[in-house]
Symmetry: C2
Subunit: 411 residues, 2 copies
């Protein structure tokens, strides 16, 4: 006989057993409800993309070191998407004549990066991408920040639980130019700035001194950002601040950039972020279409929610009622009884084993199913059941016709 | 300036614009509700799997010719999952000591096959995989067929819209042995049988004559299957039939196999199918864990539903109300008004453009949003709005406080 196969998943990705996946679904569901309330519509696409899509405008580090790129059997270069924005830009450009702008679009799905697995960094993670496409800076930038805040507040977060750090690529570029940097040096400087938090101050100073003698950050004209932040405050977002060190990793940003940070120092990483990218859609030809958006990853969001005790309870993911069978010959009538409840919206589990009723009750408890009834010949004749609440052991005899209503009161 | 990028997706996969994705979600949602009603729990896993997982027991054709397999930067061989069953078996084996058997599990997600794109065959498709793990043949086989039928009936299908063709790998194997075939010849014969419907009768006869002189199908003992079909009929599934030609492509089946066919001859392909695979989990070591299940693909299911006029309407995917702004300076109060409605569960789109109100109404119509209100300085003062039903042109003046209730009556 050959060696048994390993039960390990591929390195750096996760298996989601039902309880794990129920937590993910509860988190996505809360985000989805908020986005639909704001008039955003969901789209999707395949994670397989032509590799050239990322070579154009994603950051060099991601394309060269962090993508899954391979050649298919038809000699096409394929990348498994590391992020959603290039796909969004491609889809918008592909139907630019038919779509009703502005678009309020979102997509929730998995993204892939070839990274060394570490806390909060996996090779496959889930992300909600949220974009407002077709409007220049102004109200669109404001809506995106309001919405980023509304999503966290929908989970019960308070403004002192997080801070929104805002900067502007346009203002950073002007400041770099004023410091005497040329176009390529600006790119290099901004990438260095993006990594600053992971470096010692000395290492940053040494590295930046090879690019520039003046510190461009001291030359930023913060006025427009301060006005933007004041406007956000008037509109109900009081925890935005100017931070000249925020750049975001991607090359395609052109206007505001922002990152949301947990204020709890135990969780010091950026929770999520985004910005304005007015030139990306034009890479596919035609006039530029301005756009602004952000993306929330599942791992950092779940860390934030757990740190603050805000993780949503799993929804209607497990059965409400366990129908036990006194003997195997009772299974057909138990299934038929269960079916009448299912048709009324109940979630019903029927025992199909030869276990004793006492063991079936233990099984129901192990599964976290809240109610138990045995259904055999007596119940068929009497049209009534004895329903046991497993948390308390309480029992009540009910006509079968009362069960659908009872189950509707259980989550 | 460089060439514009192509807006095409990667070959053989689909872009889901919001209306397309809303249709997919409506279909998945109907399946999910039915499965939850039957006590099934949802799990998930990454599409990236170790390649060896498929080399063990999937069909040779799929592994050699139809998978996306590549080597990662750490020299690991990775396959993008072509089907879910090996992943399920791996996950079950990985926690066999902790899990409460039997498991009723399902997963809805994308699968990938490197095939020549053609009608109903794409390189990425979605599938709902449904499995009952831990029980031998008997009631578990019956539940799986009842459930396959219940899912189609939940879409409104009648029994004369489809037929469930049932066979047994165990009985096929016995018949082949009786016809004098050795183990390898049996495998080869079953694979040939799986392709029979795509061959001319003559080509099949020629190919099978190299394997066997007797026709094994005439030697099948159909009695056990006829009893199984009679039991299904008693239990409410009257459209199952014995079909000695059903084998299913995968090598891992050991007991019943079945395929569901549309009875409409315009749609002659198998809609979906499944079977029993009692040996698969044991590939990971330990005692065998019996299992039975099936998988429904999105493309064939959507074809079936459209053919029969059963495609479900898209759910709550677009905004209910368009809030127009008489001038750009009204946007802040319009957003604040919209926010009160969102907090009450409304889905509200706010205009952020400088368009005239008439053009905003046209925009709302184009987006399929059912109601329109303009919200400016007068509305702020009067605390009332004039709500226009766009389908009829009807207008009604309402106090702002009545709007949440009005929106709750819209899907």
């Amino acid at each position: 006989m050959s060696e048994p196969l390993s039960t390990d998943s591929y390195k750096g990705v996760r298996d989601f057993y039902p309880a794990d996946w129920a937590r993910m679904l509860a988190m996505f569901s809360r985000i989805r409800v908020t986005l639909l309330a704001w008039g955003y519509e969901e789209y999707n696409a395949s994670p397989l993309e032509r590799a050239e899509l990322y070579e154009a405008k994603t950051s060099e580090e991601i394309v060269n070191e962090q993508t899954y790129t391979f050649t298919d059997r038809g000699d096409r270069r394929v990348t498994i998407r590391p992020e959603m924005t290039p796909t969004l830009a491609r889809m918008v450009a592909g139907k630019r004549r038919e779509l009703a702008f502005p678009l309020r679009w979102f997509s929730i799905g998995n993204r892939f990066r070839y990274e060394r697995p570490q806390k909060g960094r996996l090779r496959e993670f889930y992300q909600a991408d949220i974009d407002l496409v077709g409007l220049p800076k102004g109200e669109a930038d404001i809506e995106i920040i309001l919405l980023a805040s509304a999503i966290l507040k929908a989970f019960g977060a308070k403004e002192n639980d997080f801070v929104i750090r805002v900067n502007s690529r346009a203002l950073l570029n002007s400041a770099c130019a004023e410091a005497g940097l040329k176009s390529d040096d600006i790119k290099q400087y901004l990438r260095l700035l993006d990594k600053k938090s992971k470096m010692t101050p000395e290492a940053f100073d040494v590295a930046s001194s090879t690019i520039t003698v003046k510190d461009p950050l001291t030359l930023i004209d913060a006025k427009p950002l301060e006005m933007f932040i004041a406007e956000l405050k008037k509109r109900g977002v009081g925890n935005a601040v100017f931070d000249s060190g925020i750049t975001r990793g991607f090359d395609y940003y052109t206007g505001i950039v922002f990152e949301v940070y947990d204020t709890n120092l135990a969780n010091p990483r950026a929770l999520f972020g985004g910005g304005r990218y007015d030139e990306l859609v034009a890479l596919f030809g035609g006039e530029p279409i301005p756009a602004v958006g952000f993306a929330l990853g599942d791992v950092t969001l779940a860390d934030f929610l757990e740190t603050h005790g805000l993780a949503p309870a799993a929804g209607a993911s497990i059965p409400q009622l366990y129908v036990g069978t006194p003997s195997e010959s009772d299974i057909p009538s138990a299934q038929s009884f269960a079916d009448t409840l299912r048709k009324e919206g109940g979630r019903v589990f029927v025992n199909l084993t030869a276990r004793a009723l006492g063991d079936q009750i233990k099984d129901a408890v192990k599964r976290g199913i809240p109610y138990f009834v045995a259904y055999g010949a007596n119940e068929v004749v009497n049209k009534s059941v004895r329903m046991k609440t497993l948390a308390t052991g309480e029992e009540v005899v009910l006509p079968v016709s009362d069960l659908p209503m009872r189950l509707r009161s259980v989550i």
